[in-house]
């Protein structure tokens, strides 16, 4: 993409508090170098692991999913391959590069996976993902393209598959998929090698692509998933057993003769030959089983939702090579519980932890087995599963004990712990306001005013602090004399809210027809406050909501004149209000929503505000009158929401130039920076990527169509976007204080420095430097006005000439770089290892690195 000449360097100021990380899935790479934890808020944390000591250090936070990360798995057979695949509850799948944290591929499908097994099929060059979830098939996907390769369907009692295991029976060339439906039907598919060929051939065979594009509302996934060329692949065998809603199913790798099935109430061992039950163990009081695995042919490890691991020795009738195998179980033949892996005196968890059994690769001739656990407080712990010999076990059996011996975890860490171990602690953007007596008040909302270079932060105590952004950042990141100054930089304080400030809005940033001096804030005290930035005074307090104010928005600029002077606020009581800033009164209160408001869209020409709620219902409100026009559900609701986007694009797209990227339709969307930020806030990966591209695109367009009708707005956009520094609040969980991402736009920075430099030069100096002649002058003009593809090369040339200032700036940048890019490149560097970084995806960091060399990946 030619447009990505802008080099934007993100630097995160995390602040003293670690982000909330309620772990929903956990995965350790096979080379034991990376631990991956997915959380309920949709982020994925990468932890650097020392393969020998298994000491874990959080390294970066991958932002992309919008819903809980349900499963994680590897993308390749190679132990040191650095890619993983993640899948979320809203159907998003991503392939991530573990080295630089980039998202290599992302897709969103209507099929939500609850489990993925990476398996290397016969006749293929790499693994395939075998997925099951909220659908009645087994889907086989390519981990890198995330395309569906083929589908396994059921002929008998088709139902959701709740557990799945793929294996290759000994002495056989084809693979077998063993699956168990929620209603307890065991199914077996034998995969022919012909199926393996699908996907290896790639192009042409992948279904779902290249369709007519015509859509029709129908359902039944089975049909949508088949490769058009082939008949559906049905199961070879099917048998009803009594296991309902199984959670996991594992075939013993030692003999492939016994199968462990874990349900929440009990676990059972089955004979793989005829699927008869050999033994069964109920969950302990007030606990439910969550999963399990074989340790050896006669030992199993089962874990429960209380986060405990239970080690059992299987009775003789469950051991394949024993003479009593498959004999009728007697009472004495119960599995013997010989050890419990538990955390002593633990704080109660708010949800079941994610647990995973990990069989370590042999090191120094010894291979260890681990039980990993990630919990709701972001703690990661593991136990080394003890190797108990048969002799020791016989001894344990002799001893009389009420409770089997417990074993405490071997290692324990968490984000909070990593934060507290950092010396000095991770900096926050307003750390200068902290005093030893009064530790920092949590920042809960923030907004950056690019034209004034000021940063506004709302805090937990209800105060709003305004500081000059650059000086404040200097104070945190750069060493120098300025750190000795008392009470520097000066800050302004707005007091008016009682309790947390939830959101801030500077309407003038979004559209110039708003007063440049007005700032709006919404708080936990149900109030929306209107401030005068110049005087620092509270102009008005709107009290219309019956719940805390959670969001502030600006209606589109083509609304009626009255609405144009309004801003829109959303309350946690599911109400939406339009508040007139000049008339100081609530114009519309839309408050009949039964469910939380998730989207607000506009039909300015029809005078409609369209409110989408979390249950999928849509409320259409007339803005001028405040009447509820209609309430919609289901398909019509979806269509009305989509139609809002169409009209906006259609109306303002007229006259917009059709550039190489998205065409004119996209010009109608709001400030791309806002979309970028919104994307960040909603953790929508593609939106972020898209907004970045669009922003660059618009920037280029502006210079070409200077006389364009909307030029005032466009010029405004440009001014905003070309700001060398952007500050964005980052919060991954609503309860967290805000961290901040600083975006340094190198090109904009160079342009600004150059313009400053030249504007101060006298004609004499200009001549002395040979800058007065026409060709050089043109070059400068080109640089300061256009973001042409080779601009950064030209800038590099100019760096030499304006050495004084630029050199100074380079040093500053390097200083910042220490926290940013270098960390990615020199992974081993001790001092930066522990820095968490917002990843390059956030700003679509692509193209060239700071030294001009192409970046990998």
């Amino acid at each position: 993409m030619a447009a990505s000449t802008n080099l934007v360097i993100p630097v995160v100021l995390w602040g003293k508090t670690a982000p909330t990380h309620c772990i929903s899935s956990i995965y350790l790479t096979r080379d034991q170098k990376n631990l991956v934890t997915g959380c309920y808020d949709g982020q994925i944390c990468l932890w650097q692991v020392d393969p020998d000591t298994l000491k874990m250090t959080p390294r970066c936070l991958l932002v992309g999913h919008t819903a809980p990360v349900l499963c994680l798995c590897r993308a390749s057979i190679l132990a040191d391959n650095n890619y993983i695949v993640s899948s979320s509850e809203s159907g998003e799948m991503c392939t991530w590069d573990l080295v630089d944290g980039k998202c290599r591929e992302a897709t969103k499908q209507p099929y939500v996976h609850t489990n993925m097994q990476a398996y290397h099929m016969a006749g293929t060059d790499d693994v395939r993902l075998f997925c099951n979830g909220y659908y009645a098939e087994v889907l086989i996907m390519d981990p890198f393209s995330l395309e569906l390769l083929f589908t396994l369907s059921s002929r008998v009692n088709p139902d959701w598959i709740s557990a799945l295991h793929v294996l290759r029976p000994a002495k056989r060339k084809d693979d077998v998929v063993l699956a168990l439906t929620t209603t307890g039907t065991i199914k077996v598919w034998t995969l022919s090698s012909a199926l393996g060929a699908i996907g290896s051939l790639q192009d042409g065979l992948t279904p779902g692509k290249g369709g007519s594009g015509a859509t029709s509302p129908t359902h039944s996934p089975s049909s949508a998933l088949q490769s058009p060329s082939s008949e559906p692949c049905y199961e070879n065998e099917s048998k009803q057993i009594r296991c309902l809603n199984a959670l996991t199913m594992t075939c013993c790798s030692c003999n492939q003769r016994t199968v462990l099935i874990v349900c929440s109430k009990y676990w059972q061992i089955f004979d793989a030959g005829d699927f008869s039950v050999l033994c069964s163990v109920h969950a302990p009081q007030a606990e439910r089983w969550m999963g399990g695995d074989f340790l050896s042919a006669d030992r199993v490890l089962i874990w429960s939702d209380e986060g405990k691991g239970y080690l059992y020795q299987l009775p003789a009738n469950c051991i394949a090579d024993h003479k009593d195998f498959h004999a009728k179980a007697t009472d004495a033949d119960n599995p013997f519980l010989y050890c419990i892996l538990a955390v002593p005196s633990e704080k109660p968890l708010s949800c079941p932890p994610a647990m995973q059994f990990f069989h370590g690769t042999p090191r120094q001739g010894k291979s260890q087995k681990y039980l990993l656990r990630g919990d709701s407080d972001g703690n990661v712990i593991y136990w080394i599963v003890p190797d108990v010999t048969d002799g020791q076990l016989a001894q344990i059996r002799q001893e009389e004990f009420v409770k089997p011996p417990g074993l405490a975890p071997n290692y324990n860490t968490s984000l909070t712990k990593a934060w507290s171990e950092m010396k000095p602690p991770p900096v926050g953007i307003l750390d200068q306001l902290d005093t030893p007596e009064c530790p920092g008040v949590k920042l809960t909302a923030s907004i950056f005013l690019p034209q004034q270079g000021r940063l506004v932060c709302g805090r937990e105590d209800g105060s709003i602090v305004i500081v000059p952004a650059v000086q404040s950042i200097m104070l945190q990141l750069l060493h120098g004399r300025h750190q000795q100054y008392d009470d520097w930089p000066p800050h302004q304080l707005l007091l008016g809210h009682s309790g947390r400030v939830n959101c801030l809005l500077y309407p003038h940033n979004i559209h110039p027809h708003y007063e440049p001096s007005q700032l709006v804030s919404g708080g936990v005290d149900f109030a929306v406050c209107l401030w005068d930035l110049n005087t620092g005074s509270l102009l008005h307090r709107f009290c219309v909501h019956a719940g805390e104010v959670t969001q502030l928005l600006v209606p589109p600029s083509d609304c009626s004149p009255r609405i144009q002077k309004c801003i829109c606020s959303v309350g946690s009581d599911h109400s939406v209000a339009l508040l007139g800033l000049t008339e100081r009164k609530c114009v519309v209160l839309a408050s009949r929503h039964l469910f939380p408001v998730v989207t607000i869209k506009w039909r300015p020409l029809d005078d409609f505000m369209v409110v989408g709620c979390s249950d999928g219902s849509v409320y259409v409100w007339q803005m001028e009158t405040g009447h509820l026009d209609r309430v919609l559900h289901g398909i019509t609701a979806e269509e009305v929401l989509c139609a809002c986007d169409d009209t906006i694009a259609g109306v303002s797209g007229v006259g917009g130039g059709s550039g190489g990227l998205g065409g004119g339709g996209e010009m109608g969307l709001a400030n791309p920076a806002i979309h970028l930020l919104r994307g960040l806030r909603h953790r929508n990966l593609s939106a972020i990527r898209h907004a970045t591209i669009r922003g660059l695109h618009q920037l280029q367009q502006l210079h070409h169509d200077g006389e364009h009708g909307e030029s005032a707005e466009m010029a405004f956009l440009r001014k905003n976007h070309a700001s060398p520094l952007m500050v964005q609040g980052l919060r991954t969980n609503p309860r967290d204080p805000e961290a901040h991402v600083l975006f340094f736009d190198i090109e904009a920075l160079a342009v600004q420095l150059l313009s400053e430099e030249y504007s101060t030069m006298s004609p004499g100096t200009l001549e002395a430097q040979g800058l007065i002649n026409q060709s050089v002058y043109m070059k400068v003009v080109a640089l300061t006005q256009s973001a042409s593809p080779d601009a950064h090369k030209k800038i590099a040339d100019f760096f030499g000439r304006v050495k004084d200032k630029a050199g100074d700036m380079e040093r500053i940048l390097k200083e910042k770089d220490r926290h940013g890019l270098l960390a990615k490149m020199k992974e081993g560097a001790e001092n930066v290892q522990t820095k968490l970084q917002a990843k390059a995806e956030i700003v679509g960091l692509k193209g060239t690195g700071p030294d001009g060399s192409p970046r990998k990946g």
Binding site: Y134, A136, G211, P217, S222, P348, S350, S614, I635
Partner: protein, 247 residues
């Protein structure tokens, strides 16, 4: 102080009480399903419907009589007339040995069942210790109910190619000509039968759509119960959030 007491009351009393009520409603909902669910060992009901045409479709264009057993169409008599060939009538049928499965019903039922399991996983005498714990559990239940309800009211969109190649299309005897695709799906309380006639005009593909529908009484009841369950769950969540905030 009073607020603290109220918060504790919500955690200790109210949550369990609402969960019990919610459970009753969801079980009630499960029993309305025409398929075995949550141990309602009913034998699948057998019902017959004559479908009536929707707007923009004339009665001659689509005639369809269906028989439903559980979540499958076990019998259907279909006759179609395409505008461009007014004298040709296409007839086809669905036979019991090759039924047309309505996956939406199974999906909705399974999501509902998961919601019920989440509630049942909370022991009767369990005392909640924090509002996060409650919010977490309610979030899971809400998610299940949400997905279950939308699988009935928002049918998935598919391309015409997918439709043509679908497994269900193969259960039609005799086969329809290549430019005709049909589909049965559920949208809110109705069973919809849609016919797509693919033609080409000036080199681009276009298609005409005809529809017939009939309302399934059990679906309305299921949707009402789903909605009541969702609202109850949301209200408890809101209450818990507010109480936590004020303490």
């Amino acid at each position: 102080m009073n607020l603290q007491v109220e918060f504790e009351w919500i955690l200790h009393e109210e949550v369990q009480a609402v969960l019990k009520q919610l459970h009753t409603i969801l079980i009630e909902c499960a029993w309305r399903f025409p398929v075995p669910l949550c141990g309602n060992d009913i034998s699948p009901k057998h019902e017959k419907y004559v479908m009536s045409v929707s707007a923009h479709t004339t009665p001659e264009q689509v005639k369809c009589v269906v028989a439903l057993t559980g979540d499958s169409i076990t019998h259907a008599d279909i006759s179609l007339k395409v505008q461009k060939q007014p004298n040709v009538i296409y007839r086809t049928s669905i036979q019991a040995e090759n039924p047309w499965k309505l996956q939406q019903v199974q999906d909705a039922g399974n999501h509902l069942q998961q919601a019920i399991l989440h509630i049942e996983n909370v022991d009767k005498d369990y005392v909640f210790r924090s509002s996060e714990e409650v919010l977490h559990m309610l979030g899971k239940v809400l998610g299940c109910l949400q997905r279950g309800r939308s699988s009935l009211i928002v049918p998935r969109k598919k391309t015409i190619d997918d439709l043509m190649n679908s497994r269900n299309m193969k259960s039609l005897v005799p086969n329809l000509p290549e430019n005709l695709a049909v589909s049965f799906y559920i949208q809110s309380h109705k069973l919809i039968f849609a016919v797509y006639h693919v033609g080409s005009a000036h080199g681009t593909m276009k298609f005409d759509t005809f529809q017939a529908e009939c309302s399934l009484p059990w679906l309305s009841e299921v949707l009402v119960l789903f909605t009541v369950g969702l609202q109850m769950c949301q209200q408890l969540k809101d209450k818990d959030k507010v109480a936590e905030l004020l303490v």
